[in-house]
Amino acid sequence: MAKLDLQGVTKSFGDNPVCRGIDLTVDEGEMVCLIGASGSGKSTLLRCINLLEPIDDGRILLDGVDISEPGLNPQPIRARIGIVFQSFNLFPHMTAAENVMLAPRRVLGKSRDALEAPVKALFERFDLGQRMHHYPDQLSGGQQQRVAIIRALAMQPEIMLFDEITSALDPELVGEVLDVLRQLRTEGMTMILATHEMAFARELADKVCFLDAGRILEEGPPEILFSDPKEPRTRAFLSRVL
């Protein structure tokens, strides 16, 4: 059974259809990259998967259970699916460590003491041991984004969603954030990335999906999709960005 299974997901904002019937399966430990032009619906799809946006129609199955059922309490499901945003969205009034501990304490009911050691270990794993007690505005963009990843990981999610997490970074900071993704990849984390980093998608993705006007126009392993795209629109998009 697939870890995550989207079946005919549709979503409109007013009369602007943004997802127009999206089918996608993601297996345990798989890394899927969403590519596509600006406005093609990548962010919206990710936000729908972790229920920040309710979908209009279709189904989203997590471990075979429909999580898109209208009226379902989204909180416990969101706690199982981590998301990292382009603009970090750290809480500016809390230190990096407090940012990371907030949800485990309030949602999972863990004590500060019990979190101390695992959180420290997380920061050290991503080379931020020295920055735990800094406030977001005392951190570089790359460091902030890594803290945002740690914050999502601290909930021990089953799937991680990444929405163009390197797009707001200075070029020299992109590498350190991509390294974190490589690390997660080797640890077998199930991940979906919306990304403009084609080289990265080609290097690591199991599957690349090309989104066009709210549909997955073409999908496949990166070696095939990047070198031999079938659809003219995919070809046109790739020739623009590669």
Partner: protein, 283 residues
Amino acid sequence: MTDQTSLPRGSAPTLTRRQAYEQRLRRRSITIAAGSTLAVVLAVVLLVPLAPGWDAVKRSFFNGEVFAKTFPGLLDAFLINVAIFLWCAPIIAILGLVIALFRDVRSPALYPLRLFGAIYTDVFRGLPVILVIYLIGFGIPGLGLPRPWNSPYIWGSLALILVYAAYVAEVIRSGIDSIHHSQRAAAASLGLSDGETMRYVVLPQAIRNVAPANMNLFIALQKDVALLSFIGPVEVFRQAGVYKSLLANFTPYVGAAVIFLALTIPATRYADYLMNKQRRRQS
């Protein structure tokens, strides 16, 4: 340009051309400001005493003897203002916060709270403070309540609390609105409920953002405590009135003004300082 030659190169070798230019500009404006201020002060000092009524005004408003005699009594009376302020302020802060939260509830079951919050702030921001003080301060004891429940201190304070809580609620609500929705999204994505998001993520930031605005409100409250004198309490303004009648001299009012200013000017300056600091941080 002749700038090059007029630069004070020897005296300040570290200044760039731009800095030197700005320094000259700054010195010039300081000189002009000082000159014009001096001219105005001189004109006031020299001309006002020439006014035909000046001697009479000086005797009845700036009488040193009366000032010295009444000032300690005024200070004593001012303690009442301080006391009223001190018990009103925390209640206003809490009530203002509660009303602000009422206005943010989303659940339809709680819609009445939302409606109540909106009506409450509209009504109490729409009335003159003195009118609320009269209505509550005279109206409720008029029901014939037994002592101590007919005290004007209680009902006057309640009037101030009701009015000021409405303003504080609006200020806090504007602070809540100013927090970018991506903060709420980030909190929600971690599994926090709406209430937890408000409590741990939105409110702490909102309240900090509007702290200077709230401080200005509390400064205004400190002044408006004097309005309670109209329904009874002998605070500093009323005490000054008593002295005025006793001594047939207006100097006690000046004394009361001095006391208010000694408190409000530093507080206003501090609020402005906070506000500027905030603006710099946000830009």
